[in-house]
Symmetry: C2
Amino acid sequence: MQQGRREEEVLAAIERRRRRPHVKLMDERITLAHGAGGKATHALVETIFVRHLSTPEADAAVVSPVSGRLAVTTDGYVVTPPFFPGGDIGELALNGTVNDLAMAGARPLFVAAGFIVEEGLLTTELERAVRSMAEAARGAGVQVVAGDTKVVERGRADGLYVTTTGVGVVEHDLDLGPAAMRAGDRVLVSGPIGDHGMAIMVARGGLELEAELESDTAALHELVAVLLAAVGPRLRCLRDPTRGGVATVLNELALAAELAIAVHESAVPVRPEVTGACEILGIDPLYVANEGKLVAVVAPEAEEAALAALRSHPLGKEAAVIGELRGDPPGMVLLETGFGGSRVVDMLAGDPLPRIC
Amino acid sequence: MQQGRREEEVLAAIERRRRRPHVKLMDERITLAHGAGGKATHALVETIFVRHLSTPEADAAVVSPVSGRLAVTTDGYVVTPPFFPGGDIGELALNGTVNDLAMAGARPLFVAAGFIVEEGLLTTELERAVRSMAEAARGAGVQVVAGDTKVVERGRADGLYVTTTGVGVVEHDLDLGPAAMRAGDRVLVSGPIGDHGMAIMVARGGLELEAELESDTAALHELVAVLLAAVGPRLRCLRDPTRGGVATVLNELALAAELAIAVHESAVPVRPEVTGACEILGIDPLYVANEGKLVAVVAPEAEEAALAALRSHPLGKEAAVIGELRGDPPGMVLLETGFGGSRVVDMLAGDPLPRIC
């Protein structure tokens, strides 16, 4: 009897599976089951990840051979709030990884994205972030080839964390980096600084501001390509001033090259609304995160060509030369203020703006 | 006067920086400042990441050209507790990513690791996880080429989450995957199942067990190389039965190939202590996660060669043939029990073991 019933159960289960639509409708909120690797995970992957990114959550994706040196980067995104004026965590994670590759002078090829989701997140919010990542990937011409989702209990994350890893190809022989920098080299930024960090601060509601601040999140690889084409080996070094802002990047470069960097305060482009927000909060815009700007160091004779190249691209039309490298004092960044004075721009000690990206 | 004092301050700051040792001693616990991209981040990176992994937290690492198709995988690790008998989150993340590459038949080349750390984590715990990741990387012959650390406030994570992304090279023309599978193919596992999941359950203290259960976390790429060398194109498909266990992997394969998989219950190797723990918890070991086992599907004529190859390697010495593929009922996994009966092994619906990896 036992035996007979089992066989009937098997047959009934087979029939149920045959009739079952392949993917069930999504739940309103993410549950632990969505991270368990079973049915709910498969439904989530099919309805969100495969739909928008065409990325099955497979063991590994196999991509075509690549010729040339590879550039590799990884970055975690924990920005709060995950949706903010000008962007969201999905777009930010994609662009940020593309930019890290671009700063190494690499052409971005593909990205892998790992999601850590807090139980209870609205499914629509996850979908919104994934869709926006997919749009950013299409815009940047990169493929999201691998993905993963883990779900943790309520109170063990904050909505959604994303870790993106990018692989690109370096198609030139330049060795962009602080070692190539020399005294006399010029420092450029591709546009007004501080937009991303201040947009996040406003989105957090800590500021009573009428001003419309938007994140500058953007993929910079085309801007880099234009710059490289214009100045070639006279481009010494590229950095994207994200966490810690322009001040942190310049400090890293000065320390690595054992050179000084002098910055002319009046030459640093900052939108008036960012200046205003920074003044209210007592924050120096030099330390505020950017997500669509680059810092370029070029040979002195390439200054004008570099500036013209940056300004020829929509993402660099407000580019400016903000300073130059000097031999002394090594490892220091000095801000030259209006009246012939100067102050040290030190590396950030604390964290005035946590979880900015 | 103002001017004069500023210049003195600049000179004094220069002197302080010159005298300052390059890296300060670490704090006892991780603070938000360690994730801010400034001084504390640099100290953390120097004392933990560079020291153990030789991986500076740069924008992007540039690695040598690779010839051949590339395999790419990413995985988040949120295991709780992060330190457990037989391993920890650092080793698990490295091995897990190596294994995902190995399952695609790829030779692992390099790994990028992103850490999301909860404020308040003991610095020694972070260091322990990173050191163990570094040891696992050396053991597996892969390089950790890129890293990133973000810190979130207390209560916004659970100690430490790690996302690892791996890139490997596929050095053969085989297209391992369910599409190659045929009715009659044999299913093998490389050893006793359920060790990782049950070790985690015991580590959580939910079980009053005397038995010593240890995670099986291990890098399987050499075992795969031995198997590939022995059976070549008669190897159809490889999977590592992690989240959701062997049952989930077999369901995925059966669905993808539109074939049935029959599993002989008595042939499935399970350690007695795992069986005991599973019985107490009412969990089927077929659904319990493994982190150092593989499931291989091979052509029927390769059964013996595959079994011998697996058993010739320390990680496969308890390998077993556990079942075979059949034409019908398509998409189903059936467990054949001792007395000629059978039951459906369905895909996991809920999550009996959350945060197992």
